[in-house]
């Protein structure tokens, strides 16, 4: 039946087809010709210093306050400029605030830089800081961070006070998140009749598509997910800095393609570098690779409520002894991670050098024998398989290491889209989580990951292990209102020590960071442990 259909329809379709083929051939030929002529007329090399940058993602919006994420902060450092920022050693350096002083327990005074212009041409004043802090307190993502603040008060045009509700030791840390917005630019209604200052996550808003910051670059064109072009802001306050006049940012999600784009010279700078390509880039002439230990901790949480065995500190300790941090870092992470014995990475105030990862299988076995579970036990475990570097493999390695001390783990892994609901519901005894402290401070780890769970205050929100030690809570809360930074550090170090001794959870490692670029630029100087490269300071020779 079918065949006869085609035979009858044959003559007609054959005619159509032959016409089509002929047309296609013509098109093919003409495009060939075009290509040849175009190659001959290759344009002369441009004089402008352009940086072609490839990252694994691009900023989700032009509004710096719409989402708190690494990508958005990277963008904010290009187009906006914070009051203060971190240098490579995590010290605070002045940006739009030239100096600062504590007035009293609740107030920190910032003296602002004079003569700073916004991209719109407006002058930067203390009013802009007040406006920005108010807006931050309305943003879903930032209001939690700025909860301790009652607001900003303009003393005069170039002096502003940040006032907190209680004494607060992290005012400067938070000032790194205050990227002043141009309040004149963002006030009023746009041509659609909507207020310009609204923060919208999933729909059009003026701020999602327009910007006016004080940063080194302005956005000249943007096609989300495809290409964003930045041009040097000619009125930028800091003249003696980088020489890049234009940045073309292309997101390249695929790891192999991102590396290939750098190796072929199609882009000048890539981040991050996929672990499997590190050696290749290192050994290529004309390229440079910069890596450093990052600050995102990966841990396993052991749910003491779900599984009685995990409530026994000896069992938890045994598990910590049975997990080979260094082995996993070397074999699974290709050496591209730093084995961890605590949450706080080096450089954080709570970090204690003495809390090293422990691995001793004999000791683990002995502890299991001493514990209430000499013959081991069974436990369930979940882990994501596309959220952290090699997350699934790490979880599998953990399960096999635990089998050596008699703990039989049934592991289930899933994509992150499904994972977090399961994580919140605490469906398994052992759950994996990675955490980056958005205050760049140790207190944040314990507030979210190890304080006793409290639905009202939100403390321990991500503590799926149900670890709870009143002393940890007390010290963490004390640190929040402590403005004596030495005392504060001591408190937070004690928190780490307690958790280490009780094996409240199992820390695995901090993921490393990586950047690669052509070797004619000062890449080493502009990157940092927070992973916000300061492209404004980049010099291309």
């Amino acid at each position: 039946m079918k065949v006869s259909t085609f035979k009858t329809a044959g003559k007609f379709s054959l005619l159509v087809l032959s016409l089509l083929v002929a047309a296609l051939m013509l098109v093919g030929c003409s495009s060939e010709e075009k290509k040849e002529t175009a190659e001959k007329a290759a344009p002369a090399a441009p004089e402008k210093v352009t940086l072609k940058l490839a990252m694994d993602a691009d900023p989700v919006s032009l509004d710096p306050q719409v989402q708190l994420s690494g990508g958005m902060l990277q963008f904010s450092h290009l187009v906006f400029d914070p009051l203060v920022r971190y240098d490579k050693n995590m010290n605070f350096v002045p940006r739009l605030a030239e100096s600062w002083e504590r007035i009293d327990d609740l107030t920190m005074r910032f003296h602002l830089r004079k003569g700073v212009k916004f991209h719109s041409g407006n002058d930067f004043t203390a009013q802009d800081v007040v406006f920005t802090l108010d807006r931050l307190k309305k943003s879903d993502d930032f209001k939690g961070l700025f909860e301790p603040f009652s607001g900003a008060v303009a003393v005069d045009d170039h002096t502003v006070d940040l006032v907190t509700k209680k004494p607060y030791g992290l005012v400067l840390n938070m000032a790194t998140y205050i990227f002043p917005l141009d309040h004149k630019f963002y006030t009023g209604t746009d041509d659609k009749g909507k207020p310009k200052d609204t923060i919208v996550k999933t729909d059009y808003s003026f701020a999602n598509e327009n910007e006016s910051g004080t940063g080194p670059f302005t956005v000249t064109s943007r096609e989300q997910g495809v290409k964003t072009v930045f041009a040097r802001f000619k009125d930028y306050w800091n003249k003696d800095t980088g020489n890049v006049e234009e940045i073309i940012l292309s997101p390249i999600k695929n790891d192999a393609t991102r590396t290939a784009a750098l190796m072929s010279g199609d882009v000048d700078f890539v981040m991050p570098v996929p672990p499997q390509d590190l050696d290749r880039i290192k050994s290529t002439d004309g390229l440079q690779l910069v890596t450093m230990s990052g600050s995102r901790i990966i841990t396993f949480q052991l749910n003491q409520k779900r599984n009685p065995a995990l409530a026994d500190p000896k069992v938890r300790l045994a598990m910590d002894y049975a997990y080979d941090n260094q082995g996993v870092v070397e074999k699974i992470m290709n050496g591209f991670a730093t084995a961890a014995g605590q949450m706080s990475p080096k450089g954080y105030v709570g970090h204690l050098d003495s809390l090293v990862p422990r691995y001793d299988l004999e000791k683990a076995k002995a502890l299991m024998a001493e514990s209430g579970y000499p013959n081991g036990f069974e436990a369930t475990m979940i882990a994501p398989n596309n959220r952290y570097v090699n997350d699934e493999k790490i979880a599998e390695a953990f399960a096999s290491m635990m089998s050596k001390i008699g703990i039989k783990i049934s592991l289930k892994t899933m994509p992150k889209a499904q994972y977090w609901d399961q994580f919140d519901a605490q469906v398994a005894d052992i759950q994996l989580i990675g955490w980056h402290s958005d205050t760049e401070d140790s207190g944040n780890f314990s507030e979210f990951l190890s304080m006793c769970r409290n639905a009202e205050t939100g403390y321990g929100q991500y503590n799926s292990g149900n670890y709870c030690n009143p002393k940890v809570d007390e010290l963490t809360l004390a640190a929040q209102t402590e403005t004596d930074l030495a005392k504060r550090a001591a408190d937070l170090q004690e928190v780490e020590k307690i958790q280490y001794d009780e094996a409240g959870f199992i820390p695995l490692h901090w993921q490393n960071l990586s950047w690669a670029s052509k070797s004619n630029m000062n890449t080493e100087d502009i990157v940092n442990v927070m992973n916000f490269p300061y492209f404004g300071d980049l010099v291309i020779n």
Binding site: T8, S13, K34, K201, I252, K253, A260, A417
Partner: protein, 325 residues
């Protein structure tokens, strides 16, 4: 004919309903899109509130009916990531994919016909054996591997071709971003087209070859030889003509599969079309965009199939009779 057409359109509507239902069910069970929209500090209560604002807390039937009602008005929902209507995002990305599929199809047509015919006429020649051997390699190599190999050879080692993206494009008719009319755009098209065609090309060569060989054995070709007709006329006019019809049918089906294969090709080449958009929407849990893509592609397929059926019905009344049984 009228009854037949109505019946086919009704069938098409039912198919679209089923596609939209499946797509929407996937969306509903896919996971929480809010997680990718907010920072880690946002509390469960605040997330629930955002979900409420987006209508994600409503029961499934309510959401589905709302989706259908909006879809009838041409609104397939809002892409959370792009912060724009999903249809707008898809239409913006469609030219990239269609141009890529077009160029790959062109390559397939231009190469498979001569190679297939040659290897059918001279099955024992060394070149034919080479083509056949090569086609096995081509079929068995995954697209992403072919793509990465191409990039490493022609971009990294030889520096001949650009490794990613679409290059310069020009705007046609106010909305069609075309890479076909700039030298840079064409250069960017070469490797993705080759990669995309790499699976289908060997299939078509083999298909044309076997069909052609069969036809060459048939009585009327033998009769043509006996009449003393010139060889090229026998091959091209008598034999190849009859080879083509089954090849076209298969080709139509394969074109759809090719659209599916663009997902891999586009991902490797960072080609900004619908394929990579879909994969990224899955990664970002941009569920509205995901379901809009499924429905959009579904509509295209159903439309084309329905049209083809109706045209067949017009051309050949036999189809209608068969359909009535």
């Amino acid at each position: 004919m009228f009854a037949f057409t109505v019946k086919r359109i009704l069938q098409a509507v039912i198919v679209m309903l089923i596609i939209s239902f499946i797509g929407f069910a996937i969306k509903h069970n896919f996971g929480d899109p809010i997680r990718d929209l907010v920072g880690q500090r946002v509390t469960a209560a605040e997330r629930a509130e955002i979900r409420d604002r987006l209508g994600l807390n409503d029961p499934f039937p309510v959401q589905y009916v709302r989706f259908l009602r909006d879809a009838l008005h041409g609104d397939l929902g809002q892409s959370y990531f792009f912060k724009k209507p999903a249809t707008e995002v898809i239409i913006k990305k469609a030219p990239a994919t269609l141009e890529l599929v077009f160029c790959a199809a062109l390559l397939i047509v231009l190469l498979s016909i001569p190679l297939g015919i040659y290897s059918a006429i001279r099955p024992k020649s060394l070149f034919s054996k080479f083509i056949m051997g090569g086609s096995i390699v081509g079929v068995s190599m995954p697209v992403f591997l072919t793509a990465i190999l191409l990039i490493y050879i022609f971009s990294v080692e030889l520096h001949w071709l650009p490794s990613y993206g679409r290059g310069d494009t020009v705007l046609l008719f106010g909305w069609w971003d075309s890479g076909l009319f700039t030298a840079d755009g064409l250069k960017h098209l070469i490797m993705p087209s080759i990669a995309l065609s790499s699976i289908m090309l060997p299939l078509f060569i083999r298909l044309i070859r076997s069909e052609m060989m069969e036809v060459l054995e048939s009585e009327y070709v033998k009769f043509a030889w006996a009449k003393g007709i010139k060889p090229w006329r026998v091959w091209l006019v008598h034999a190849f003509k009859n080879t083509l019809l089954p090849v076209i049918t298969v080709g139509g089906v394969q074109l759809g599969i090719m659209v599916a294969f663009t997902i891999l090709t586009e991902t490797v080449f960072q080609w900004q079309g619908m394929g990579s958009m879909f994969i990224e929407s899955v990664e970002r849990s941009d569920t509205s965009l995901m379901v809009a893509y499924l429905v959009f592609v579904g509509i295209i397929f159903v439309l084309v199939n329905t049209l083809v059926d109706i045209i067949y019905g017009l051309v050949n009344p036999m189809v209608r009779v068969a359909g009535r049984q």
